[in-house]
Amino acid sequence: MITVFIEPDNETLHFERLKTVLLLQQRLGLRVNDALVIRGDMLLTPDCRLQDGDEIRIRKVISTG
């Protein structure tokens, strides 16, 4: 199980069996440079593998104001 927290929507989602960041981005309808993908204090590139128990923050970058 992977826990995903989406900013700035403040929404939490859970996914089973998502092998890579790219698959997560596709599930969320995001392209490579639409959002930061954060694990701990690191940024992840699309090819990074996700692990069971990962907590990921998605920070969308298009400014809204």
């Binding site: 900013e7 700035p8 392209r31 490579v32 440079n33 639409d34 930061l36 954060i38 690191m42 940024l43 992840l44 590139t45 699309p46 090819d47 990074c48 920070r59 970058v61 298009i62 400014s63 809204t64 104001g65």
Partner: protein, 314 residues
Amino acid sequence: MKCRKCKAPAEIDLPSHNTACCRACFAEYFTGQVDKAIRHHGLINPGERVLVALSGGKDSLSLMLELSRQGYDVTGLHVDLGIPVSSAAARAKVENFCTARGLKLKVVELIKEGLPIPDVKQYIHRPICSACGKIKRHWFNRVALTDGFQVLATGHNLDDEVARLFANTLRWDAGYLSDQGPCLAAESGFARKIKPLYRLTEFETACYAFLNGIEIHTAPCPYSSGATFTGHKKLWSDLEYTSPGTKIAFYDGFLKRGRPAFAQVDKDQGRAVAPCTTCASPTSTGVCGVCRLKIAVTERRAADPDRQTDPDRQ
């Protein structure tokens, strides 16, 4: 994915530049892009004092940090709009950032100036985002003028600039196309206005802010129904995805081959500019637009029964 330059594990994939970076090489890349913008367009001359407009968002705080690291003499300016909850939160982010980094900061409080945005919204019948933008620009100009800054820097990024250029190109707005760019020369008592982040995308400034531990204000303005250019930003995201590099090519191509064509077209004659008789800001209308706004708000607020202390109703 490995850093294209040093082969360490990459943290940032940048298909637009056909590259990927580790955080150290990304910092170099970011610095290089800002430096290229400054040198190529003469944005800051040696010894000039730079006032940086700080909203509390990722772009303005990243700009402030990067300019200070490059050794420029920078001072932040935050305009506290006086919107309940939201403005205090944004201001706290700006103040904490400047304090922690030892950076100079000035704050203008619109409540103290008699023109808080909630009152403008209540008493002035025009789109609040446009009035608010006008008031903020007024204060940036005014502080630059009265405190002797030669340069006023804003955090506009490539996505902002491309969306704006695109909107003006759709209308073929010749006046705008004749002078849009990362540098607007000092004129009529206004400081030079510069956009040192114009080569960097929103994604890149967001990465920079994260990698430098900058805490940013992300809550949207409670009065804004959404970004002005969101529709065009989506369109440009599609174009960039299909053809990486299209954004910067469009903007650089405009600067090289588009703007010069429009610059040859006669500009409308500027009207005579003189100091505002109330606040001394340059204006062509005797009393400047923001001072007139303030007069209107003050009058209507005074005439509003709900805003007066009425002993019978207490």
